[in-house]
Structure formats: C-alpha cells, structure tokens
Symmetry: C2
Subunit: 134 residues, 2 copies
DNA sequence: CCGCCCATCGAAAGCCATTGTCACTAAGCG
DNA sequence: CGCTTAGTGACAATGGCTTTCGATGGGCGG
C-alpha cells in the first residue's frame, strides 16, 4: 500500500515521453495503443511503465478514463473541461460527452443518506445513434 | 454470428437448470459464480454453456446485466422489481439498492437530444460506508 | 416407434488486457 | 562523487471470457 511516503516523485525520461505523447493525441486511447505509438516514435518505454504512469495520472486526476464494454480501459488527457459522462453508440462507437450536474448531486445525496462518504460513481449511457438507426 | 436461423430453440436440461437457478437467486451474480452454484447442486452444466445461455438470455431481454470496473460481467433475472442502481462500499462490499427516477429521465432525455434511441445506461455509485469509515 | 440431422454441449486450449515479480537502472541529495 | 531508493521493464502469471471441435441428444420425418 502506498503508505504516507515522503511524496517524492522523480522526473524520468519515460514519464516525460508518456506525457508528451498524451499532449499530442486527441480523444481516448488504450494503454496498448499508447504504448504502440511510443514504440513507433522510438521512445523506449516499457508496457508496464505505460500502465503504471497512466494509472498514476488517473489517480492524481490528470487523466480521464473510461472502460469499454469488454473491459479494455481508455485514457485521454484530462478534460480542460470538468467532470462529465459518455453517451456511446452501440453500433459505431461514436461518443458524445455529456455533463450531468444533476446526476452528480443525486449520487452524492443518495450516498450520504446511507452514511457513505468519499463518494464516486460510474455512469455510461448507451444507445443507437441517429446515423446507425437509419 | 447467429444468422437468421430457422428460430429453432431446443429445450435442454442444461438450459432448464440455468433458468431454475436464476429463478432462485436474488441480485447480480457473475457467470462463474452461477456456474459454481450449479456445480454445488450437482447440476451437470459446463461453464461454456452457462456463458452461452446467459448471453442468449441477455440478447432476448430476459436477463439484465452490468459490468464491474474490471471487466467482469454480472447477470440477474430481469427485474420483477423496478429498475434500480447500486451503492457499493469500497471496503466491505456492502451493497444498497437505490432507485433514481431522476437519473433515468435525465439519461433518456440527454440521449434523445443527441438523436440516440433505444437508450440504456450503467450507473454504479461507490463510497465508504459508515461502518468502515469508523 | 425408429433414425437421422443438426442444434447444443463441454473440456480443454486460446485469447488478451492487465497485474505481479524482481533484478537492474538512474534521479537527485549530501 | 557515492548512495539510497524510486522507478523501470522483460517476462510470467492471472483471470474472465471465447473458440474449437468431437460427442451428445432433441424432436421431427418416416
């Protein structure tokens, strides 16, 4: 367990490479995809490190992540924008970002009503988009 | 892929066993858990068949399913009760079922605003319950 | 009532994203 | 410049799920 360490975080080349890549790409990508990109640009970074770095960035809130139905996790550089959810098309995978302040409030409220603290939530909306329905 | 077959669906002992089990248990269970239960009650059903049957039932809308953060898929017999969500304790796993009509409406509304139809959603709320927080 | 065809089974092998292991490397303090 | 220790990465392992393919048996035609 990450005990209350000294909080030391070293600046490593690998970390910089991952961050640099994330700054260049748009939208969601899987850890594996990102690792492939790094390999292509000859940045020697191990897959394990990519996973660790991404995980770390998600924990510190610098990255946003979703999970595909199938278990694969996707990451993207943190929303200039605030917290939001995804509306995903079952057919083509098209994704729309939607904000739902009401939902956030509802979740917090319901949780505290039951004595829960440190509340978080997962919310994904699925459907068939107009194009695919036609 | 299940092509437009003749629609033939045989009644097999295995299928009946799975259905019978589902009628007895409450709430969500993973395919593996259900398979274990079947083994315990000496119902000879293969894991593969459990997966296939569950998948089939989800497709025909007779089962409801969610996915845990981690990729594991859970199934439950289609809501005799109305639709609801789960408030889960991160520490002890205690689960409270909560209804959120507002959320349902919000999801449908947001989806249709973006031209999506046949809308569904996943929502799980996580937190630390009062007992564990103490 | 009997046979046959094909839907269904299921054990084992495969798949694949992710996590664990552990010896090795290098960041940065003194 | 050493030394401590965070960080790295090749490889193995995990685990849920899917595929494979020969065996089984449901149920209809005869």
């Amino acid at each position: 367990m990450t005990e209350a360490t000294t909080g030391v975080t070293r600046n490593t080349r690998q970390r910089a490479e991952v961050l640099a890549l994330l700054r260049e790409v748009e939208g969601f990508h899987s850890a594996q995809q990102l690792h492939q990109m790094l390999v292509h640009r000859k940045a020697r970074v191990g897959l394990t490190t990519v996973y660790r770095t991404l995980q770390m960035l998600v924990d510190t809130g610098e990255l946003d992540s979703t999970r595909l139905p199938g278990g694969e996790q996707l990451y993207r550089r943190c929303s200039q924008s605030r917290h939001h959810h995804h509306l995903v098309c079952r057919e083509c995978g098209r994704t729309v970002e939607v904000a739902g302040p009401a939902v956030e409030r509802w979740a917090d409220q319901v949780a505290s009503q039951h004595g829960f603290t440190d509340v978080g939530h997962t919310l994904e909306v699925f459907g068939t988009c107009g194009t695919c329905a036609a």
